[in-house]
């Protein structure tokens, strides 16, 4: 380092899930190195699963994350059902979609109002948000309550649900319980639109990656905005089924992170999550979600990651409206679950859309249905390289900012992705090193 070396250190970056650090080495002319260092210890879930029964995967993997357990359950059950050739009733698929809507609502609203909005308002915490914008926080809490209620009803409890099983559910909700939920959703839709309109008043920093455009990757389904079904597509024309995932997406160990980096063809960073879904599936958003998107002047291709807070708001409206539609058309399935036929050695794959992006599961089963091998690729590990690229490309235009402002902008850029490091290890100290 030269005498021009300058270091900015933040011991802990708040409002992201998990433990990690960011290191940036730069001078007045360029950025030399960006490392998103995830030091949260590996959690070995893939190893835990070995030798366990196929029926246990949904409940074990749900424990990976307290905010997106439904995603883990959905990827697990879909993979197992694919392995064992189990067909589920359409009504079960609809209930699973409703459950996923609940998780999107609770996860997105928490991030929008309490983790990310403080960045735009130069506040330090959710408590500061509550002091200065109590009506927004109260509205968010009310919305989150509705999301929690959906997960509680269908999942048996609001965190780490226990009612999901391979083939369906252990117990189905009654018409009356869903009707009560439907009444709450009416109010939630009004609140979701209001939250989106409020988010639209926030000052969103400009950031255009025209020199290195994003590669968006998401599920795509002509019939519905994707949660658990569809093919995996990209903004560059990729179009594959879940079993082909590992032929295209290669995980790599990097020295500075306990989370594997996942790259397309082992080379290219890509972007999963709400922005990818929005850009690749705009047509299937619900009517009110499209209305909000129009009010917020969001249309594909929308590529400013700092606007991800707005896209999440659109997805909250979509999830609430979709939940209402699903309840309106609900007919109780004849059976809570489809029977499992003869268990056989098999491999199953699934990709579903967690709030933060695609979640890939693969399981290899033996003749007794015991898991021989499990592979889980969570969204945050897929976005790691894109986050590093954002910081590398963003910083040269921000050198006039004070170190404190620069540090704040870096943290905000990371939170654009709502990273869940606890999932990825299966973040954050920040160090800026100016030479």
């Amino acid at each position: 380092m030269t005498d021009k070396t300058k270091t900015i250190r933040v011991d802990y970056l708040a409002r992201v899930e998990g433990e990690g650090a960011l290191y940036i080495r730069y001078d007045d002319n360029s950025v030399h190195d960006v490392k998103l260092k995830i030091f949260e210890p590996p959690r070995f879930f893939e190893a835990f699963l070995q030798g366990r029964d196929y029926t246990e995967a949904p409940d074990i993997t749900a424990r990976i994350c307290g905010i997106c357990p439904v995603a883990y359950q959905m990827s697990a059950v879909h993979a197992m059902e694919r392995a064992l050739g189990i067909e589920i009733e359409p009504g079960i698929a609809q209930l699973r979609r409703l459950l996923y809507c609940g998780e999107w609502i609770e996860s997105h609203v928490l991030h929008i109002a309490m983790l990310h909005a403080p960045d735009f308002l130069k506040l330090d915490s959710a408590v500061d948000m509550a002091k200065l914008h109590p009506e927004i926080v109260q509205q968010a809490l009310s919305l989150k309550k509705t999301g929690n209620a959906i997960v509680s009803l269908l999942g048996g409890r609001e965190i780490h649900p226990i009612n999901v099983r391979v083939g369906g559910f252990y117990k189905l909700p009654g018409r009356e319980q869903l009707a009560a939920l439907r009444a709450d959703l009416e109010g939630a839709l009004v609140q979701a639109m209001a939250l989106g309109r409020w988010a639209g008043t926030l000052s969103v920093p400009d950031f255009d990656r025209h020199q290195q455009p994003y590669l968006f990757v998401a599920l795509h389904n002509d019939q519905e905005y994707p949660t658990s079904t569809g093919r995996l597509v990209s903004s560059a024309g990729l179009d594959i089924d879940a079993p082909e995932f590992e032929q295209h997406f290669i995980e790599q160990h990097v020295e500075h992170s306990n989370a594997l980096h996942c790259l397309l063809n082992g080379e290219h960073a890509y972007f999963v999550g709400p922005m990818a879904r929005f850009n690749l599936n705009f047509d299937t958003l619900s009517p009110m979600a499209k209305t909000l998107a129009a009010e917020l002047k969001l249309e594909p291709p929308y590529v400013n990651p700092f606007g991800s807070i707005l896209v999440r708001c659109v997805e909250v409206v979509h999830a609430v409206e979709t939940a209402m539609t699903l309840i309106d058309h609900y007919t109780k399935p004849a059976n809570a679950f489809s029977a499992v036929g003869k268990v056989k050695p098999a491999t199953g794959w699934a990709i579903t859309e967690a709030p933060r992006g695609i979640l890939y599961h693969r399981y290899e089963l033996d003749e007794k249905g015991k898991i021989q091998q499990a592979k889980i690729v969570p969204p945050t590990s897929q976005n790691q390289k894109t986050i590093e690229d954002d910081l590398r490309l963003m910083l040269p235009a921000l050198m006039q900012l004070s170190e404190e402002e620069l540090r704040h902008r870096c943290e905000q850029a990371i939170r654009n992705y709502d990273p869940c490091i606890s999932c990825a290890t299966h973040f954050l100290q920040l160090k800026l090193d100016k030479q």
Partner: protein, 154 residues
């Protein structure tokens, strides 16, 4: 909708982790007695839910297990109005995921939004064995029975 004068009793803890079952057991005990003068809430896993839950109540009673090596297991510690005692509030800090706030943050958010209860009463039972899958110890069970009787008499 609850009457503003009603109290809300929240039992925190894990029914299946030894002495940590204090809160859930007290709620179960009050329900078994058919207590209807108070709202009862089995500790929500999502602490943010507490803010919605206690909005509108003048009085909230939190029941939980606590660790205090200077006291015997089963000792009931009563903190009369925790909201007026910053050191008590600070003691409610607990390292958690950023996706789940701790009790102090929940209370501070409620105070900031003006919907905190007027009175927060904490009953904490001193406990020491939180082995997953185990039952609460004898002294803790006795304390639970005493607490149920005391709260039922409100």
């Amino acid at each position: 909708m609850q009457s503003p004068s009603q109290a809300l009793v929240i039992g925190l803890g894990n029914r299946w982790s030894g002495d940590d079952a204090v809160g859930p057991l007290v709620i179960e005990g009050l329900r078994a007695r058919g207590v209807d003068s108070m709202e009862l809430l089995m500790g929500p896993a999502d602490t943010l839910s507490l803010i919605n839950a206690w909005t509108g109540f003048e009085k909230v009673v939190l029941v939980d297990a606590c660790c205090d090596e200077s006291r015997d297991d089963g000792t009931v510690v009563c903190i009369d109005n925790a909201l007026q005692n910053p050191s008590v509030l600070q003691s409610l800090q607990h390292p958690t995921s950023s996706h789940i706030i701790d009790l102090e943050q929940a209370l501070n958010m409620s105070l900031a939004m003006g919907n905190a209860p007027d009175q927060l009463l904490i009953y904490a039972v001193v406990a020491s064995d939180f082995t997953p899958g185990s039952e609460p110890s004898g002294p803790v069970r006795t304390a639970v029975e005493q607490l149920v009787a005391r709260l039922a008499a409100y």
